[in-house]
Subunit: 313 residues, 2 copies
């Protein structure tokens, strides 16, 4: 399958690859029933997210065409679209719209977020000699040699920052805002953000089977890898859309809760304790949105509802 | 040896670790004698580079202190200072001064260039399962597990962009200049810059011993890995120092030639053909400097002379 076809599948159903199937033997379903009441009908909002994802997709395809030198652009194109989707980039654009900005103002930042996520995903699946085999994560289908995947990931990260810094994509924004976004994103994906989450996930993989499940570990990984990426994405959307400091901080917290819900569901957690936690996170997320335009809030909150709906069906 | 001690050794003699010893059985020495005439006495200029390197060192040590979480900052500190030095960061600061700027205006960019170089060096020495063993490159003394080195390199790259984008380090510069520098640097270290050079070096390593020496390969690797990094460094120094477009392009070309000389010498090339090439590059480099303040030119050109002196002693 070529990268274009792959990306088409991802974007036809933007949440399709995000969740593993629930296991009916686990205590999930009983709790799920109670959760269904939270979920509103959001068929219209689904098209909102589909259209946002299509914009990001278009931007990335224009930025990374398959062109010579093929040895560079073919793996970069493939690995960009082969990574499992995260909702952080779409949240960035929705946050920009929520504070009154135009969606286009955040498309470069959203694309950069996807690229950085894809680069991190690529590197965490490279068969480094001492990497432990994880039983809890899906096996990645490698299309290239490990060395090429390592180098391609190394090329994707600076390219993401180039996308952010390019003036032509950000004509409506002033340079100060863009620099602020670069700082936000570099921190979120760096050593005390996504990389810290990856480190903790690695330590967990190494200890797998040797000790019982460690709730603090899952919390840290979900907070760092998924939570802070979403928090940063929402804050950046607010910055680029011209939101106030207060709006930005509210959206940052909203993003953190959304990301942590994604992290918990992505790791297949369905027991009562974790479902209670995601319900708490959902309520906290909704609370952060109370002062925004309520029509727009319905759209951005449907991101959380979609996550619940996807594990309840 | 701790990272501080390591960095001290590097910076006491800023070019000490850059060149392998010449082999007296190769045709190098006869040509070297003729080259010595190029080299002026530059003891004073040596202190210029030492002081620039000390400034970069101080900036990096402040930016990456060894502090909690140690699991993050200890490897980052170590790997930042364990990488072999490249003259690109120092050239960035010297170019800034050459066009009339203050050295401090370029210290964040210079530090970012070193970090990105150190990250690339760390990743190219990770024992990925399919990495060929290179007979032409020194063995890297690994202080950490491969996985930690992979993650640390992944943390160093966004951190370099954070250093660049931070306002407090760049108070004298306007945000537009900083964004331009971010674009320059992201391109130089990315898929069509350093990463392309690394790819070609990898292909060469794989074919090592199977075919005769490939001059085009060496040229490409030196151009991409060393030449473009120095070209970008000099251009960024000019941008941050407030140089004109013409000055920036002259310094970009100067940097390319300086970097290619570094690349050729670093790879131990000492035969007549390559020494002829470095002499040509040296003359081209000098030509680019003819319209600048000649007192300052002596300083910045001593970088090239130092490279020759180091292989001639």
């Amino acid at each position: 399958m070529d990268a274009g076809a792959l990306s088409k599948i991802i974007h036809l159903n933007p949440t399709a690859r995000m969740f593993s199937k629930p296991n009916p033997n686990r205590p999930f379903l009983s709790t799920a029933k109670s959760m269904v009441s939270f979920a509103t009908s959001n068929k219209n909002h689904q098209s909102y997210w589909t259209s946002i994802n299509a914009d990001i997709d278009t931007h990335l395809k224009q930025a990374i065409p398959i062109r010579p030198p093929l040895v560079v652009f073919e793996p970069m194109h493939h690995l960009t679209f082969a990574a499992p989707e995260t909702t952080a980039p779409a949240l960035c654009m929705a946050a920009c719209e929520l504070v009154g900005g135009q969606r286009d103002q955040a498309v470069a930042a959203a694309s950069a977020l996807h690229l950085l996520h894809a680069s991190a995903f690529t590197h965490e699946n490279i068969p480094v000699t001492d990497r432990p085999r994880s039983s809890s994560r899906p096996v990645f289908d490698h299309a290239y040699e490990p060395n090429i995947e390592l180098l391609t990931g190394d090329g994707m990260t600076p390219f993401a920052f180039e996308l952010l810094a390019r003036f032509d994509n950000l004509a409506q924004n002033d340079a100060d805002r863009v620099l602020r976004v670069i700082i936000e994103i570099s921190r979120a994906v760096g050593s005390q953000g996504v990389v810290e989450g990856q480190y903790n996930e690695l330590r967990y993989d190494e200890s797998n089977g040797k000790k019982s499940f460690n709730a603090a570990w899952l919390d840290n990984v979900c907070r760092k890898k998924d939570g802070e990426l979403h928090a940063c994405a929402a804050a950046c959307g607010a910055i680029l859309g011209g939101g106030s400091e207060e709006e930005m901080e509210k959206l940052r917290r909203y993003g953190l809760y959304v990301g942590m819900i994604e992290g918990i569901f992505n790791r297949g957690e369905r027991n009562e304790k974790w479902l209670q936690k995601v319900n708490e996170l959902k309520n906290l997320a909704l609370k952060e949105l109370k002062d925004f335009n309520q029509e727009k809030v319905k759209k951005i909150f449907s991101l959380v509802e979609n996550k619940f709906n996807n594990v309840c069906v």
